[in-house]
């Protein structure tokens, strides 16, 4: 089913017990048929945003419309239009893949023949026909994620929410899921809201990316636009001798601003306009400093994150109340 409305949010916010604000007044606009990547570290507010947009959690402030319906007042209509594969595939380890699909189709009120047909179609689509009668506890992480996706597609939703769909998956399973997500948009016109903490995932899949940190969107645009905003490339060097790190840093600093690094022994610099890698090499040579590695890197989404937040996305995670406390159930007014 093709989506004609997409997702819009204005000033969307969510507070939890203790006055902790997990999502802090975000504005979003996802066009129909678009893949929107919501990128951020753990605890940034991604899952809370997804829970609000999928009607599982009422916003504390702000408004959101999904598929043309208000998430706070037209929950049932929103749920009818969307599919969601939430963080950690929520499956019953004691049921088989086929039984999961039969249950899901029954809960969507499909007649028996349609339940059977739709289940088989989806098993085929996600490549689980052979494993359909095995209990889910015997499935690999990738198989669970594919089943999770199939369950989200049971009622042919026009908008799909995928909350960190590839976390913990091996590269092959990740690539298979990326293919399926691409196909859903391309062939079925499904609008996809995808949260991820993987830069390459957002870069590879998303038409546009929103970067969220501490509950706020700090940057938004196409991956190309965001990287262009950073513009300048960076040079990363590893000194031949550990005690020469300071000297390397002194030389590199002449060519731009030093950057935080992930590897302790590394030195990195964002190049000033007009400076080339050759200039840096000549500088090191002139000072008689040798390096084991030197690399010119084009800007990445991590550089964007770094520029906007002052931290690298890797290792940026911090504890935050992504979900309400167990004793505080998800609550809102039921309008069924």
């Amino acid at each position: 089913m093709r989506d004609e409305h997409g997702i819009q949010a204005e000033g969307l916010a969510r507070d939890f017990k203790g006055g902790i604000r997990a999502v802090d007044g975000i504005d979003l606009a996802v066009a129909p048929g678009e893949i929107y990547g919501f990128l951020g570290p753990n605890g940034a507010g991604k899952s809370t945003t997804v829970h609000m947009l999928t009607t599982l959690l009422p916003p504390t402030a702000g408004t959101a419309r999904v598929a043309g319906f208000d998430v706070a007042r037209e929950g049932a209509q929103v749920r009818a239009a969307i599919g969601a594969a939430l963080q950690e595939a929520a499956l019953d380890p004691l049921l088989s893949g086929r039984e999961h699909l039969r249950l899901q189709t029954a809960l969507h009120g499909m007649p028996k023949a349609q339940r059977r047909r739709r289940s088989e179609e989806l098993l085929e689509r996600v490549g689980l026909t052979q494993a359909a009668d095995r209990k889910v506890k015997t499935y690999s992480g990738g198989m669970k994620r594919r089943l999770d996706l199939a369950l989200a597609l049971v009622h042919e939703p026009s908008i799909l929410f995928l909350d960190e769909p590839t976390t913990g998956l091996d590269p092959q399973s990740r690539a298979a899921l990326w293919d399926e997500v691409g196909r859903l948009r391309r062939d079925d016109g499904v609008t996809i809201f995808l949260t991820t903490q993987y830069l390459e995932e957002a870069d590879a899949l998303a038409d546009r990316v929103g970067i969220i940190d501490h509950g706020r969107i700090v940057a938004e645009g196409t991956p190309g636009e965001l990287k262009e905003e950073i513009g300048r490339a960076s040079v990363h060097a590893v000194p031949s001798l550990v005690d020469q790190r300071e000297r390397v840093a002194d030389v590199l600093e002449r060519f731009g601003e030093l950057l935080p690094v992930v590897r302790e022994e590394e030195v990195a610099v964002r190049l000033t306009d007009g400076v080339s890698l050759a200039d840096v090499v000549r500088g090191l040579d002139a000072d008689g400093v040798s390096v084991d590695e030197i690399e010119l890197r084009a800007p990445t989404l991590d550089d964007v994150f770094l520029a906007k937040t002052g931290r690298s996305l890797e290792g940026a995670e911090e504890p935050s109340p992504e979900e309400p406390e167990p004793e505080e159930p998800i609550r809102a007014v039921v309008q069924r």
């Binding site: 999928t54 009607t55 599982l56 009422p58 998430v71 706070a72 007042r73 929950g75 049932a76 929103v78 749920r79 009818a80 969307i82 599919g83 969601a84 939430l86 963080q87 950690e88 929520a90 499956l91 019953d92 004691l94 049921l95 039984e99 039969r102 249950l103 899901q104 029954a106 809960l107 969507h108 009120g109 209990k135 369950l151 167990p326 004793e327 159930p329 998800i330 609550r331 809102a332 007014v333 039921v334 309008q335 069924r336």
Partner: protein, 258 residues
């Protein structure tokens, strides 16, 4: 079949499947009460010689206990399974479908009742194999199974309520000893009028579990004791109504969507 009936059927089917596929959920509710029955019968058989003891077979007297113990196990199983659904996010998945909370609760409890009745048939067969004569006859067997279903429904709803409020399987299981205390301070091993210690007799008399046991016991030993049946069914229905109301309220809270 209406959409609601389809939903109830699907949830009930899942509930039964889950239980059947967990050997511990089958074996303990079947074996443990029977072992306790046999041990108690061996150790307390001399009680039948007390003046006024209603039967000369302690096995017949004590056979009522497994029915209630089995229902307690149903409470734990229902609660633990539901808590797991909350913890794993499975309930969120269900919340995103058009399923109504009432259909979810009815489906889950239907599954528990099915398993509870199957347990009751097993206890009954064991009793008959060991020589217990069922005084109320075949019609009494039907009444006993209906009663077991109501008790399982009530206790199952109570377990569901605990799971929905706490969201934790461990928390649900921590209530198990509390329920067992209720069982032990009842007329489980001695008729109430033969309990010599005043405070114990008082506690057993205000303990609803005593009336559940005496209802089953009356069908096995006495035949048709309308007073015991009335009290037993009355208590069971009150437990059912209260616990289903609590579970429904807790589910509404837990599944509250916009």
């Amino acid at each position: 079949m209406s959409a609601a009936a389809t939903q109830v059927g699907a949830v009930a089917q899942r509930s039964v499947r889950r239980t059947v596929r967990q050997p511990a959920a089958i074996v303990f509710p079947l074996v443990f009460p029977i072992l306790l029955l046999l041990v108690n019968t061996g150790g307390l058989n001399a009680s039948t010689e007390l003046p006024g003891f209603p039967t000369d077979s302690f096995l017949a007297f004590a056979l009522a206990v497994p029915f209630i113990q089995g229902a307690l196990f149903a409470t734990m199983n229902a609660g633990t399974d539901l808590a797991r659904d909350i913890q794993t996010g499975f309930l969120n998945r269900l919340s995103l479908t058009p399923v109504r909370g009432s259909a979810l609760l009815v489906g889950t409890l239907t599954g528990i009742v099915v398993m509870g009745v199957a347990q009751a048939i097993f206890y009954l067969v064991v009793g008959i194999v060991f020589g217990v004569e069922f005084a109320a006859g075949p019609a009494g067997v039907v009444v006993l199974l209906v009663f077991s279903a109501i008790v399982c429904l009530g206790f199952g709803a109570l377990g569901s309520f605990l799971a929905l409020r706490t969201g934790s399987g461990e928390a649900v299981q921590s209530f198990f000893p509390v329920f067992f205390v209720f069982l032990f301070i009842s007329s489980m091993n001695t008729p109430r009028d033969l309990i010599a210690v005043d405070w114990f007799r008082f506690l057993a008399s205000i303990n609803p579990v005593s009336y559940l046991l005496e209802c089953v016991r009356s069908l096995i030993i006495d035949g048709w004791d309308w007073k015991a049946l009335g009290l037993g069914f009355g208590v069971a229905i009150v437990i059912c109504v209260v616990s289903i109301a609590l579970a429904a309220w807790a589910l509404t809270k837990r599944m509250e969507r916009t």
